[in-house]
């Protein structure tokens, strides 16, 4: 069942068309990666879902309720992390959470749990203006949990963070999914999106140009896994594979035979090499990554 549905969304800033007939849907309980180059319209779409921007045309439904007609109450079901996390600088971590709890009509007894869960307990009496970027992001994520919303909209949640915090944020997002939350995530870090998202949608020039699982998109784009073989004699093996029609881009890299072929031809290749009397020590397979998928999509190959 779709928990977020966007239909025919248009938004212009003067003569600039930020969104052009955007359609997408996010299923309940999934992590949906929203990808696109800078200026593609990701943040505009997110802000419209949050009613921070008014759409020119189009409908957005969250949990089946029309966002533009429902008024602010719909936001009880949504936890939002903006691209630039900004909380009240002159207030402490604790006071910020208390204020936000009050606005959402949520009891304050959830705060100790949030402080623990997001590892910000030690900074609870620290003013937000003195927090590091990592701690601020933890606090930003913590506030999304106020009121236990079903839908989480995270705009670039790992942007500008060091690798350790990025890993932590990633784990946290996965744990949110395990709790049954739906996560709508916009990101530039493709490897992370690939790792945690069930499906991705790629937006370019205000339009959704592809939407599926990374695996399905790879298949649609005919992306082949990269195969690295430690084989002896390597020159003979290279000569042989060059004659095979189902093998692409064969070469030798760092004493390994590197080539590309579809998944179903992998076993056939190994048989062929063994039949030719080659001695195979090791085989490594690297599936196509989201970056490759993204580049191909942006090049218009889908």
């Amino acid at each position: 069942m779709a928990i977020i549905e966007i239909e025919g969304l248009h938004k212009s800033y003067g003569s600039i068309k930020a969104l052009r007939n955007l359609d997408l849907s996010v299923a309940e309980g999934e992590i949906y990666g929203f990808l696109g180059p800078n200026g593609a319209g990701k943040t505009t779409a997110i802000k419209i879902i949050m009613s921070l921007l008014n759409p020119d045309v189009g409908r957005i439904r969250v949990k089946g309720i029309d966002v533009t007609e429902a008024g602010p109450d719909i936001r009880k079901y949504i936890g939002y992390l903006p691209e630039r996390v900004a909380l009240y600088e002159y207030m402490t971590v604790q006071k910020n959470l208390e204020f936000l709890c009050d606005l959402k009509g949520c009891p304050r007894d959830v705060i100790p749990h949030l402080l623990d869960d997001f590892k910000i307990k030690a900074s609870k009496d620290t003013k937000v203006k003195t927090l590091s970027k990592g701690m601020l992001q933890r606090l930003g994520l913590a506030q999304t949990q106020i009121g236990d919303p079903d839908v989480l909209i995270l705009d670039e949640p790992t942007s500008g963070l060091d690798p350790e915090i990025r890993r932590w944020v990633k784990k946290k997002i996965i744990s949110m999914k395990k709790k049954g939350k739906t996560v709508f995530l916009s990101s530039h870090v493709l490897s992370e999106v690939q790792e945690i998202c069930d499906r991705v949608g790629v937006i370019s020039d205000g339009k959704l140009i592809a939407e599926d699982t990374v695996k399905n998109l790879s298949e649609k784009l005919h992306l082949e896994p990269r195969i690295e073989i430690s084989v002896d004699p390597i020159d003979e093996a290279l000569k042989h594979v060059k004659s095979l029609k189902y093998i692409h881009r064969p070469r030798i890299e760092k004493e390994l035979l590197v080539l590309y072929c579809t998944g179903k031809n992998k076993a056939r290749l190994i048989h062929d090499l063994v039949d030719q009397g080659m001695e195979i020590d090791d085989v490594g397979i690297e599936e196509p990554d989201l970056e490759e998928v993204f580049v191909k999509i942006m090049e218009g190959e889908i």
Partner: protein, 297 residues
């Protein structure tokens, strides 16, 4: 459908809780501002010194009656109260927009009108605290040193000043919504102060000279429309409210502007002046809400 929702919201307990929560935050945050305490102390010191030394130039220093104290105090209050209201209000929305806290605030389940109302109430409470603490305490001190205390006039002076603060706060919040950066909002606020305090008066003198003649104004006999036009300046409304109720202020107004009460139209009435000041609070707030609801973040 939307209208029905808004109507229902008027009765929503949650809505009022959120408004009061925002106003409490604004109040506590701004009360910590050292300028607010300073201005409250200035009001206190001014009221006491004006009352005691106000007549020093004419006779020896002695305590003045309440009415004359109000007359002299009004000359300071007319600049100071609008100034603190404009300082408090000009950044209320635009600064939050610049710092991105507005985006987070509006991602919570609340209407934009609730944010505006909450901020207005909180900031107005700051002005009320400042005026009541400063002028109120001053009044208490003065009352212990004079025989006949005109409390009614003094209360009216405080009430009118609170309303004047509300008007300027409402205008500065409107500027904060309409402008996209805080420096423009500040410039707009300063212009507002100049507009109602100086530009208006000079413009009125110029219009008087060009139309019915300066001499008629000096004699306190301007045409009826001239009185009606004054409703477009909240500062004049405030002064008129004081002049209608406090003889010492009326005498001063007659000396300064040649206003003769017998030429005042019948609608120059205390309750109408109070009502007009309230309208002056409401209209900028309604315009702010309209613009705020239409604007993108």
């Amino acid at each position: 459908m939307r209208k029905l929702n808004n109507f229902k919201l008027l009765y929503s307990k949650d809505m009022w809780k959120r408004i009061f929560r925002i106003s409490f935050k604004e109040f506590t945050q701004n009360l910590k501002n050292p300028w607010i305490l300073t201005i409250a102390v200035i009001f206190l010191v001014l009221s006491v010194t004006v009352s005691y030394y106000g007549t020093a130039a004419e006779t020896s220093a002695e305590w003045m009656d309440m009415e004359h104290t109000i007359r002299y105090l009004a000359g300071y209050v007319e600049y100071m109260v609008p100034l603190i209201a404009l300082i408090l209000g000009y950044g209320s929305i635009v600064r939050e927009r610049e710092k991105d806290t507005l985006e987070l605030l509006l991602s919570y389940p609340m209407d934009r009108g609730e944010v505006l109302s909450g901020k207005f109430l909180g900031l107005w409470m700051v002005i009320i605290t400042c005026v009541v603490a400063g002028l109120g305490l001053g009044g208490v001190i003065i009352s212990h040193n004079i025989s006949e205390v005109a409390w009614r006039e003094y209360y009216l002076f405080i009430l009118a000043t609170i309303l004047l603060g509300g008007v300027y706060l409402s205008i500065s919040m409107m500027l904060s919504v309409f402008f996209q950066d805080s420096s423009s909002a500040l410039a707009g606020s300063i212009f507002t102060l100049f507009l109602f305090s100086f530009i208006w008066l000079f413009s009125m003198y110029a219009i008087a000279e060009m139309t019915f003649g300066w001499s008629e104004l000096e004699l306190g006999r301007p045409p009826k429309w001239y009185f009606a036009v004054q409703f477009f300046n909240p500062m004049i409304i405030w002064y008129t409210l004081l002049a209608l109720n406090i003889p010492a202020v009326r005498e001063w107004a007659m000396e300064f502007a040649g206003e003769e009460p017998e030429f005042h139209p019948s609608y120059y009435d205390t309750w109408i002046m109070i009502f007009v000041l309230i309208i002056w609070i409401a209209i900028p707030l309604l315009l702010s809400e309209y613009k705020f609801n239409k604007s993108d973040l």
